[in-house]
């Protein structure tokens, strides 16, 4: 799983790099160094200028519209003015584009003969699309395709659904503006399929795409299964009869929810097939076959249960959009202002969340979610088992071997902790009994004696006479401190050391066994004198 995280980070890093390169390229195109401080302003001025002219034109046009006779007379002239504005803008834009396109990594189209605005835009647009397409392709290959399975749909869904929500907006504007609030319109634009799509994608998970399609597929699957077993003779036929009878019972009950029925069928079928497999279940291959059958049934159960889960969510969420439309319609039908896009979607998202939360809080949802999770993970576990059976003869450590090792490691960890605890308890008990710990006093006494013997041989020295003992290979700051504590400060003292003193030092210090001898301190110290 940590690999998945790495993959995401890797993907995001690449996406970041892509964006940063892209935007650097774009900003560079407009930066003062490349354009002598002109282009960026030019582009904005160009756009603003065009917009203002456009706005002014329409304002006069509408005023003129108050007098229909006059407006009709002036129409051709107005039309010519409007076209002029467009052509002027197109030409200015073309010049700007010619000056800057290459800097942005766009291909500059070649012009033959006179300037043709229509052709120019067509080509420019194609160019732009190609460029965007390449970007998308890159994103897809470098980011989305490298994402682990469970994260990928989330991101792609989001992009899709954002796009989808935008497409909602257009009819919405028309609806509100024209006051065409009626059922047909709503049904047309806000179909259950549309909800399914939005909710599905926004929830960030998607076990199934389309419930209706799924139900049809499952039905088909059952039909095939029935017809297959019908062809078989003997026991199969009686089982088949049993299923049919059971199904009839369900149908007679009338309003039984589809998912419940199908799940029950699925479970019955699995149970009834079990005896056949159990009779044969010997040897690895049969076990693999049995597991595959279990996976098959578990998978159907998983799909059915997750569809049921999703259906609960759809049902709850389906009124969020019509309710939002109704509210905005009421608010804006007499107003000249357009409703704010952001406010509209915020309202929609909040309404949707409120209704979803009601479902998420329900007992049914919680139980179903648990079943879905358990079924899903059991499928994974069975797949692992198949892998293990398949490779049982090969010299790999399998999942179960790993399991054994992990178990053993943990048993050792616990044993060690118990021992540590026991030692601590014993120490405490000894202390409480007023006795010294494990002959501590005795040791100190012997240490005192050896220390005296050592200094007797090496000679006394004081801190004031201290040499830098760290100059001797093998002596670090910690060891130097320990030697000082023993009363050893000078090269003179160390130079007198023999095998006997080395052993005494080893004994006194406990740590650094054999180091003094190995590095021949005495010889080193003599050299330093």
């Amino acid at each position: 799983m940590s690999n998945q995280f790495d993959t995401i980070i890797e993907g995001q890093k690449k996406a970041m790099e892509f964006w940063s390169n892209l935007s650097e390229q774009m900003t560079k195109a407009f930066s003062p160094e490349t354009t002598n401080g002109k282009a960026k302003d030019d582009a904005q001025d160009l756009f603003t200028e065009w917009f203002k002219k456009q706005q002014a034109f329409f304002e006069t046009a509408i005023k003129a519209g108050q007098d229909p006779q006059k407006a009709l007379e002036e129409a051709p002239e107005k039309m010519r003015q409007w076209l002029d504005i467009q052509t002027e803008y197109a030409q200015k834009w073309a010049r700007f584009y010619q000056d800057n396109a290459e800097k942005m990594g766009l291909k500059l189209p070649e012009y033959k003969g006179a300037f043709n605005p229509a052709g120019f835009f067509q080509e420019g647009m194609n160019n732009w699309r190609e460029w965007l397409g390449k970007g998308n392709q890159w994103m897809s290959e470098q980011v989305f395709d490298k994402m682990p399975y469970n994260m990928r749909p989330h991101f792609t869904n989001f992009v899709e659904s954002y796009d989808f929500l935008h497409r909602y907006w257009d009819p919405m504007q028309r609806l509100i503006k024209n006051g065409m609030y009626n059922k047909e319109m709503i049904d047309k634009y806000f179909s259950p399929d549309a909800y399914q799509k939005v909710v599905n994608q926004m929830m960030g998970f998607r076990p199934v795409g389309n419930t209706t399609e799924l139900i049809e597929n499952v039905n088909k699957w059952f039909e095939t299964y029935f017809s297959f077993s019908n062809k078989e003779s003997g026991d199969w036929a009686s089982i088949n009869e049993g299923w049919k009878k059971k199904m009839q019972e369900y149908m007679d009950k009338g309003n039984l929810p589809f998912f419940e029925m199908a799940t029950d069928f699925n479970n019955r079928m699995r149970d009834q097939l079990a005896p056949f497999y159990n009779i044969m279940a010997q040897g690895r291959q049969t076990e693999v076959a049995k597991l595959m059958r279990d996976i098959q049934f578990a998978y159907i159960a998983f799909v059915l249960k997750s569809s049921e889960l999703q259906s609960m969510v759809y049902e709850a969420g389906q009124f969020a959009m019509p309710d939002t439309v109704r509210e905005f319609y009421k608010k804006y039908k007499d107003s000249k202002d357009m409703p704010d896009y952001q406010a509209f979607f915020q309202h929609y998202v909040n309404t949707l969340e409120d209704t979803l939360l009601k479902v998420l809080h329900s007992e049914e949802y919680s139980k179903l979610q648990s079943e879905v999770a358990a079924t899903g993970t059991s499928i994974k576990s069975m797949t692992d088992k198949i892998m293990e059976l398949t490779y049982a003869e090969l010299p790999f450590l399998t999942k179960s071997d790993g399991d054994d090792i992990a178990k053993e490691a943990n048993a050792l960890r616990q044993k060690m902790r118990k021992l540590e605890q026991k030692v601590a308890e014993l120490e405490k008990a000894l202390l409480l009994a007023g006795k010294p710990m494990a002959g501590k006093e005795e040791v100190t006494e012997t240490k005192g004696a050896s220390k005296k013997k050592l200094i007797d041989h090496l000679g006394q020295a004081t801190k004031a006479e201290a040499d830098d003992l760290k100059q001797i290979k093998g002596i670090g700051p910690k060891l130097e401190k320990m030697l000082n504590e023993l009363g050893i400060f000078s090269y003179q003292q160390i130079s007198k050391m023999t095998a006997r003193e080395y052993d005494m030092i080893d004994e006194l210090l406990g740590a650094f066994q054999g180091r003094a001898k190995r590095d021949n301190w005495a010889k080193q110290a003599k050299a330093l004198l």
């Binding site: 799983m1 940590s2 892209l22 935007s23 954002y162 919680s366 993970t377 399991d403 960890r413």
Partner: protein
């Protein structure tokens, strides 16, 4: 373009400007840095590390505080950005701070138990600090699930704990308001732990957290252009995204036990919880205890936290309400200005 009142054109221009600002800002992002408070690893055992946060001056309080964060998600939330860092603030308020980093469990940790975490790692860390500072008792600051661990630890080793602070820590798991509490009761945790092969992936937990507020992702992404257009907000957003995505897997046995004994059977509060064969009795907690809960917490609702005061024997005990959500406790500006200084003051008074 047929709209003539000019409002739509303004919206378009505004949008274009926002997006270009956003692009410029994102181009300048080189690195998303979190957890920048200087620290040293002073002890480690396998994947678990003990950090000591560095300081220039001598700590005002002589008793250091050990932070025990949850196993779910990462402790970096407590030092997400320099000006919103619970850890930095505690350090600057004169508290010597240690923190246990539980690491990222992998398959080999599938049998790592709550005993290993609490009697092993946590106890080892406490002992290390006691020895390092030549003191008998340390302060413990437990966060969320790490707070539950701290309560268990303190019940078993009261002689090693001077003061206990718990932040947004669940203790009474019998709750129907919190979705996690509701779902965990129905959860077939055996099937899940076994199915995942003994190690529960972080993504699995994240799906659950996402569902607690199902449309939050949508809101977040819808506001993305505006967020990105503001450099400060962009960096905050990226830091938070980084943290959210960074969720370690859970050691299966510990996860199984926590769900069963806490969420499903509420054993801690009923006095039925045992660790390493020792009964965990919250009545053993007699030292000063400060309990902090967040009023709007949808992950650990206040009702799951507040009963703690009726279960411990401490005479010096205090409930502190933080006006905000689970995450606000760590990164909210009110946390920085009021909550963390209040914790430091509380600790210093009882040093």
């Amino acid at each position: 373009m047929s709209n003539t009142n000019g409002k739509f054109s303004d919206q378009v221009l505004e949008r274009v400007n926002t997006v270009s600002d956003a692009l410029r800002n994102i181009a300048e992002v080189k690195d998303v840095d979190i957890a920048t408070a200087p620290r040293k690893t002073v002890w480690e055992d396998g994947k678990v590390k003990l950090y000591h946060f560095e300081r220039e001056d001598k700590a005002e309080a002589k008793t250091p505080a050990l932070i025990s964060y949850a196993l779910v998600n990462r402790w970096e939330m407590m030092d997400l950005q320099p000006d919103r860092s619970l850890i930095r603030k505690l350090v600057s308020e004169g508290i010597d701070v240690y923190l246990i980093d539980w690491g990222y469990p992998t398959k080999v940790d599938r049998y790592k138990t709550m005993e290993d975490y609490i009697l092993g790692n946590m106890n080892d860390c406490v002992d290390f600090i006691r020895e390092e500072h030549s003191i008998n008792k340390v302060n413990i600051l437990g966060v969320c699930q790490g707070g539950t661990f701290s309560l268990i630890y303190t019940s078993l080793f009261p002689e090693k704990v001077k003061n206990l602070v718990t932040l947004v820590t669940p203790v009474d798991f019998d709750n129907d308001e919190g979705l996690l509490f509701k779902w965990a009761k129905d959860m077939d945790v055996d099937a899940i732990v076994d199915g995942f092969g003994g190690i529960v992936p972080g993504d699995f937990l994240n799906t659950g957290f996402d569902l607690l507020k199902p449309m939050n992702k949508t809101r977040k992404y819808m506001a993305l252009p505006e967020t990105m257009a503001d450099q400060g907000r962009l960096m905050n957003f990226l830091r938070m995204e980084h943290w959210v995505a960074d969720s370690p897997a859970q050691a299966g046995e510990t996860y199984r036990r926590f769900i069963k004994d806490m969420y499903q059977h509420n054993k801690l509060i009923n006095g039925k919880f045992e660790l390493g064969g020792r009964k965990v009795d919250l009545k053993n907690i007699k030292m000063p205890v400060l309990t902090i809960y967040a009023k709007e917490d949808h992950i650990v609702p206040p009702e799951t936290t507040t009963p703690i005061n009726e279960l411990i024997s401490s005479k010096d005990k205090e409930l502190m309400e933080f006006p905000g959500g689970h995450i606000g406790v760590f990164v909210g500006s009110r946390s920085q200005k009021l909550l963390t200084p209040a914790i430091a003051t509380w600790l210093k008074k009882r040093d």
